[in-house]
Amino acid sequence: MLVVYEELKELQEFYKVKVENPILVLAENNHWFIKEFHKKQSIYMGYWVEKKEGIFKVISDIELQEEIESIKIINTKSAELYLRDGNVVKIYLNKGKLHLESIKPFFLTIYFDVRKLYSVFNKEIPYSFLPSTNVFYIQFVNTEENFDLYFKINFEGNLQLINEFIEEDFEFDKNRNAKEWKFKILKALRGYISKIVVEVEDLLDYFGGIDIEIQHPLKKFLFSRILSLYNGEKFRAGLFWFPQRWFRDELLTLIFLNFNKDILEIKRKILNFYLNNLAEIWDKNKEENFLKTADTFLLLINSLDNKAIKDNYDLLIKYLKIWENDFKKEIITLPPKSTWMDTKNRINAFEIDMMYLSALEKLNLIDEYKKYKTLLKARIFSNSYPENEILSPNLFLGYFFCKSFFEEYEWLQYFDKIIEKFYLEWGGFSSENKESKEFHKVHTGEDPRSYHSGDSWFWINNIASYALREISYKKYEEIINKIKEASLKNLLKMGTLGYMSELSSAKELRFEGCPVQLWSLSSLYLSI
């Protein structure tokens, strides 16, 4: 299908592209709409809203009868669907409402599926409809899961109530090995209309957005996608799933966007949240998380500017001691699943060591920095540090945080070795040595076998590209360009239009993992 990116008009290469099985994503602060066009639905697609009580799905799909020939992405909130009969349907989000409108009427069917995020509830609970002139008021009450939701659909045209439960195969989820992929949804309404507006009651306050001053069209494009995942208070880690705040994802994004002046106010607000809530969150990855996490506090220090460090110095030192008490024996020793590779039990993690060293530097603890650096290097060079932690793409992340740890020639040698063992010809890095028995070349979806044992993570690829560029563009030019090409392909020519997914199979460049991933976008922003 032809896709036109209106915002990339200046870049001929990306302005009009062909995309197989495109997925439209529109996102605005507290609601988002995801639609695919080839009957490969996911339970996570459709229209979602965020309320004070949590995140809810409202509409499973809005199905157009006429075939869509092309899509024009206007911006993160609006798009135009060009139908085969010449009609154009504009679909957009505006101040908490979902709009569809066209010049001449089109036929659609609306499917409801009100549910809480991550719920696999699958019983036929009746929806209450209150029809009125050009509007349906709908009430849904789920006593078993203890929530209710009210919304209304305004329309122009002829929209009729069907109110019939059907069982739908969610092929997208089936293909990614989801445990549940058959759900009962409500075929609710259908008819010829020229406009509908969906409005859910009690959404979170609307955040007006910020002015973007960046001129570079691709950077501006990426930055607006990143901002579309900001709800006025926090960044979502991703979509379709992971729409909550994940500390690691959010803090890394702030670090990757370090030189972006447009984001300063947002950054200040977010970092204040962390500083004000350190006691509760310093070793967590999510507010509701129970797993001990090693990097949140270190990433926070790495996100702060000198003034913020100075203003909060005593607090940071206090928590540094607490952190060291928990995570540092002689060298940093980690509890299971406490790093970004959260399916793995890593006792040592090179990137954590580098974040720690960088934090010491930022806190001006130079003697401690030197002492730890010497100790760690001795461990590494005497082979008493796990080799698979050094020879891993995490080393690129390590370089990003603490370039001064190794000599330049040492970085170069390690990078060459990593390229030899982990680089994938399509422009990515495998998360496992290609010759290892543990290596999975194809993504195993919800089954986490391939997750950190073969899958190629775009954010790591982008950081690798950044590191290689920093150290020697001339030497690594081909790889840097390949990675960029792969990331841009994922961004613009695969899956979710204008958004990057979490990862790809090692075998070939694919659109896999979480379909919209914040750190994939922000790391690409950094790397270009």
Partner: protein, 583 residues
Amino acid sequence: MEKLLIEASWEVANKVGGIYTVIKGKAPYIQKNFNEEYYLLGPYIPEVSYLEFSQITPPDIFKDVIEEAEKFGIKVYYGEWLINSRPKCFLIDYSSFLDKVNALKYELWANYRVDSLRTGDDYNHPIAWCRASSIFLKILGEKLSNIPKVLHLHEWLSGSIILFERLPFVTIFTTHATVLGRAISESGGNLWEKLYSIKPDEEAYKYGVEAKHMIEKITAKKADFFTVISNVLKTETEIILERKPDFILPNGIDITKFATIEEITYLHRKNRDLIRDFILYFFSPFYKVEVSKSLLYFISGRKEIRNKGIDIFIRALGELNKKLNEKDPQIYAFIFVPSETVGPDPLIFNNLNVYRNLEEKIEDLLPEIKGRLVHYLIHKEKIQSETLFSKEEFLEIQQIIKQLKTSKTYPISTHLLKPEDEILSLLKTVGLLNKPEDKVKVIYYPIYLRSGDGFLNLSYEDAISGCHLGVFPSLYEPWGYTPLETALSGIMTITSDTTGFSDYLKTITEFNSEYPGIYFIRRKNRRDIEVVEELSEIMLKIARLSRSARIQNKLEARRIASLCSWDNLIKYYLDLYYVSFRK
């Protein structure tokens, strides 16, 4: 100048290890054949070079080259190496390249995949020197483009000279032992058991020698000619360096520095008696010892218990102790292996001093005693100690003797050792505790021998010349200078079939089966227990040899070792150079 031969080594005018001796020994012979067409190339290290090197004005032909090199920050010192034949050499000051060593290391990684992440100064300095030398040689090669030129490199230390630059020289690379083979052996591994099953590049990582190994391997592949020093090493390099050597260049020995047969006999007697005196002092405070007919065995070398076969020697001594009977001579076995000590054993030290005091006292009294002896003899009176000494003298002597000290355990070493000392543990394990009834008594001498060391007070050469047998059952000895020099000193020698020179000798001479002089025991592909048995049997056989048979053996040892003189072996080098200049 019609041709040019340059021999490069990190050990030219820089004594670090055995290569220094090799080059020093062969240099006069090469000079004789090549005259002013032979030059050595080494590192300029100010604190060492001033002792080893004398700078002279370079001939015109080199002046431009030296000046040109200076433009690259390379100071070239031209002069003479201060050994007897005073060969001409270039010493390269590489100090300005040390600042760039990381870039050089990366260059080797980028071009040859030499992983130098775990390297330190022992790698950095040779690499910096090689880079500076490669530039100098390139300039020199271009200047002398119209004549044939040969560059001979020794060991990995000089190997990267030809990795940094494509030089207009025919190149020869000689390795005297592989880095990996040495590393495995030094850490106690049995190279011969592993050799056919290891993946050398991976194994190098285990021993932390990956960078040096890779330099060695790549240089061996890149050189026009690759040579080794023995057949033993040939097998090793074929597997470890993946290149079959083109030539085998046996290492010669400079026999002029060794004593003549006549001197050997004199030195043996003199030093044997001194050692026997020492044994007397060492043991007699504890029990009566018999030294007059005793035999003196020894082992020497670095403290590499497995590699040098120290374990085998001790276990074989244990067996020998059981095999020797009443009639057999007493064996005193010295272990000349420097080791970490707590300090000299005060008890041994005290007893030695007491004996020296006693000797002095007796010496003072000798004129008196002489007079009394004459008196008693003339008057045919019975001589008794009470009558030989006055009462006062007798008391005085008794007082000195009373100062002798003993302990609950019998002495083994001149020095107090750490409880974890491996040699001491081995001796205890095999039951060699120097009990009065033991036919084999051991003296562990854990310091470097030197005159004035407070105990034997003999240099290494003097100490071994007083002994009857040197034992070197090494697992890994690519050439084996130590056993060779022992044999050349006219001492019966036992060594192993892993010793490089043993293969060479087998190809050039017949061994005398009755008086072999040098005994070779088989270690390759053999269990330790079998080696121990064979060694103990040979040591027993030697213990039971008649005096004349021992002399025959000593002469034969000397004769065979002499075959390894540079006079005989230089031809291999000359043949190689001949071929190289025609390439």
